[in-house]
């Protein structure tokens, strides 16, 4: 079996350029999650909210799609059920429903961004945006550190359960402290080992880095970027008091 890294790299090329993903995430965070913009943007927001789900489908991320859709459905379900509930339950439904419907879309987009962007694609995109290395490197380490921290977190939870420290037990009050003590130690250690390894492989040198990943703007990127721009323009016009429809 002859392996060709160049061919497989071409096959693996993502649907979108990382820069487009970042722009869409930003617009979603500001307008959908942040709730910026008034009536004029309602329909645009509807279209924007559907975007991350469509993107997950194009990259065949079925599980993330289902999880995200379930989150959103739960949110709207709560808002629909709210009028029939009374007292504290009513507030609770409003509160949870509001948070879920606002956050779900952006969270799904963030997941899509992290899941489909490799570290080297991210660095490469940042270089093309002329972001300095001193910013890019710590940000790219995040990609690597998050899954690692997640794994540590789960392992510590397991250890606590085994030691008999659980909600409702005698040590409920100290649970957070108990979780954080080993967490901090191991995060610092992992961060240190990661940096040491990256440095012995020449990261941070003065020569210009190259990148084997393939990125670049294609038609789908231009369409989405235009969409983002359009959203911002509509919002600005709205601010100036102009009515488009």
């Amino acid at each position: 079996m002859d392996y060709s890294s160049e061919q497989s790299q071409q096959k693996r090329r993502g649907f979108l350029d990382p820069r487009t993903k970042l722009a869409v995430t930003l617009v979603l965070a500001v307008f959908v999650m942040g709730g910026l913009g008034g009536d004029q943007l309602r329909y645009i927001k509807g279209v924007l909210s559907a975007l991350p789900f469509l993107l997950l489908l194009t990259e065949r991320q079925w599980r993330r799609f289902v999880r995200g859709a379930a989150m959103l459905a739960a949110g709207y379900g709560l808002l629909l059920a709210m009028p029939y509930l009374s007292g504290i339950l009513n507030y609770l439904a409003l509160f949870c429903g509001g948070i879920l419907t606002r956050f779900a879309v952006t969270v799904v987009m963030g997941e899509y961004l992290i899941a489909t962007t490799s570290v080297s694609e991210f660095i490469s995109a940042m270089e093309r945006l002329r972001v300095p290395q001193s910013l890019t490197i710590p940000m790219s380490v995040m990609f690597r550190l998050f899954p690692t921290i997640g794994a540590e977190w789960r392992s510590i939870r397991k250890a606590m359960l085994m030691r008999g420290i659980r909600l409702g037990g005698t040590k409920t009050g100290q649970m957070l402290e108990y979780q954080l003590v080993p967490m901090m130690t191991s995060t610092v250690r992992i961060g240190e080992e990661l940096s040491a390894s990256a440095l012995t492989r020449g990261l941070g040198g003065s020569t210009r880095r190259t990148n084997i990943c393939l990125i670049g703007l294609r038609i789908q990127d231009y369409v989405l970027l235009a969409g983002c721009l359009f959203t911002v323009i509509v919002w600005l016009l709205e601010l100036c008091g102009m009515k488009l429809w």
Partner: protein, 473 residues
């Protein structure tokens, strides 16, 4: 060529009060081009520190006071920047979980070359060449988080190979690997030997590379105590090695040791319907209809990485919600929840299961009730495990071996009767391994049932009397 001339080193910033001891003292070491040198010695002898001096992490990343000179190909290493040293020295580290910068394997292989700004075409052809020589086609274009430890270590070696440095450092590369993966690693090193690379390895487990090396350097307390050339090392006797605090030279896989799972005389623990399948896997990782294990004995659990040993222990001690098996122990039936109070697991990274501010408190929170003589009892346990003098230390400041002992102390304090251990001796030197073995023996005499996952044949030889083997389905 690598040369260390009268090198001494002390960790810590230069202006700090120098009450710390030297990590290295008067090291003179010359490694010729194309030579393969093994650095070995008990834990804390300074092996890793020597490697850090060569790859430049000392003093550029780990600060400290260096005396003497380190030369790489005739140039002084202390004065060179790290990225310059990276052009000629590549390192494979011990921990397979924290030496990757990328999340995908292909990106990882390219990383070193990308940093030096080689052209894309050149990088592609280097990767293809390495993939072909190392036979790792199956590992390409994969998520590194989904690889086994053995596979991760192969990728680490491959990325050093793609970078193409002439000098290769190995820092306990086999510590987390099973027998088969260790032998596979040996093949990769052999591949480098034929290319004439200069290799310096720091290792406890010396058997698997003993045949390949040109020279052995034995360190102790930061000094070189013995140097053996190829001829000298071949006539060395095992008891001399043991006297030097070294591990066995005998290459033996856990499968070569013949032990029963259970005997007629044993009081059995009966496991029923242990079944676990992860949602993204085709086959169950644990699938046991009935199984009888010996209580009050030390049973080794062996098998390759990824055979489901750790998953099995998780099921057994009731941490795996999806597994509904039950066990019968001394005439009583235990379901999942009940087993959480019966079993105690000492995890691979024992630091992750210590939560409090002091060693004593750690043992105290494990005590089942709140009785007035708890403290006396806790101190008694600490004394038994030689931890009494650390009573007020922060658990996270202990060494790896001490953390493990403390976890075992907590197990004793909790009064649980079944003790499970996951790889307790990976990366331990001979003396510490024997200490762990002795401790397990002591617990066995007190009536504890012990199950220990291990790749370490020496540990099995030293203390286990029963063995359960797992295989990959």
């Amino acid at each position: 060529m690598v040369e260390l001339r009268k090198v001494s080193f002390r960790y810590g910033s230069e202006d700090a009060q120098s009450n710390t001891e030297n990590s290295l003292t008067d090291i003179d070491l010359t490694v010729q081009s194309g030579e393969f040198v093994l650095l070995t010695g008990p834990s804390g002898c300074g092996k890793t520190t020597v490697l850090r001096l060569i790859n430049g992490l000392i003093p550029h990343f780990y600060p400290g006071t260096v005396e003497g000179d380190v030369f790489i190909d005739g140039e002084s290493a202390n004065k060179r920047e790290l990225y310059e040293t990276a052009l000629s020295v590549g390192t494979v580290f011990q921990n397979p979980h924290s030496q990757f910068y990328n999340v995908d394997t292909t990106g990882e292989l390219a990383f070193g070359c990308e940093n030096r700004g080689l052209s894309e075409k050149e990088i592609y052809s280097r990767i293809d060449d390495t993939v072909c020589r190392f036979h790792i086609e199956k590992l390409m274009d994969r998520n590194i988080f989904r690889l086994s430890d053995g596979e991760k270590q192969k990728i680490a070696c491959a990325s050093v190979d793609v970078a193409g440095t002439d000098i290769i450092l190995l820092d306990e590369p086999s510590a987390n690997l099973d027998h088969e993966a260790t032998l596979a690693l040996r093949e990769l090193i052999q591949c480098w030997r034929t290319q004439g690379k200069t290799i310096i390895a720091a290792e406890h487990r010396i058997a698997w590379l003993w045949e390949l090396i040109d020279r052995v350097v034995i360190l102790r307390n930061g000094r070189i105590v013995r140097e053996l050339s190829g001829k000298e090392k071949n006539v060395l006797k095992q008891d001399e090695l043991t006297a030097l605090g070294l591990r066995s030279l005998h290459i033996e896989g856990p499968d070569d040791i013949d032990l029963p799972v259970i005997t007629e005389a044993d009081d059995p623990i009966i496991l029923r319907d242990f079944y676990l399948r992860y949602s993204d896997a085709d086959h169950p990782v644990v699938d046991i209809k009935t199984l009888r294990l010996a209580s009050r004995r030390i049973t080794a659990i062996t098998g390759p990485n990824g055979a489901g040993k750790t998953s099995f222990l998780n099921c057994l001690c009731g941490l795996e919600k999806r597994c509904r098996g039950t066990i019968e122990y001394r005439g009583k039936r235990y379901d999942r929840k009940a087993r959480q109070k019966l079993c105690f697991m000492v995890m691979q990274d024992a630091g992750n299961q210590l939560f409090t501010e002091s060693v004593l408190e750690e043992v105290l929170i494990s005590m089942p009730g709140n009785k007035s003589d708890d403290k006396k009892q806790a101190i008694r346990i600490l004394r038994k495990l030689d931890l009494d003098s650390f009573r007020d230390r922060h658990p996270q400041s202990l060494s790896g071996g001490q953390k493990q002992r403390l976890a075992i102390a907590c197990a004793l304090a909790s009064g649980r009767e079944i003790l499970l251990l996951d790889e307790p001796t990976s990366g331990l030197d001979h003396a510490h391994m024997m200490e762990t073995a002795a401790l397990l023996k002591q617990l066995e005499e007190m009536g504890t049932t012990i199950l220990v996952i291990t790749h370490d044949s020496e540990l099995i030889r030293a203390c286990c009397s029963r063995k359960l083997s797992f295989s990959v389905k």
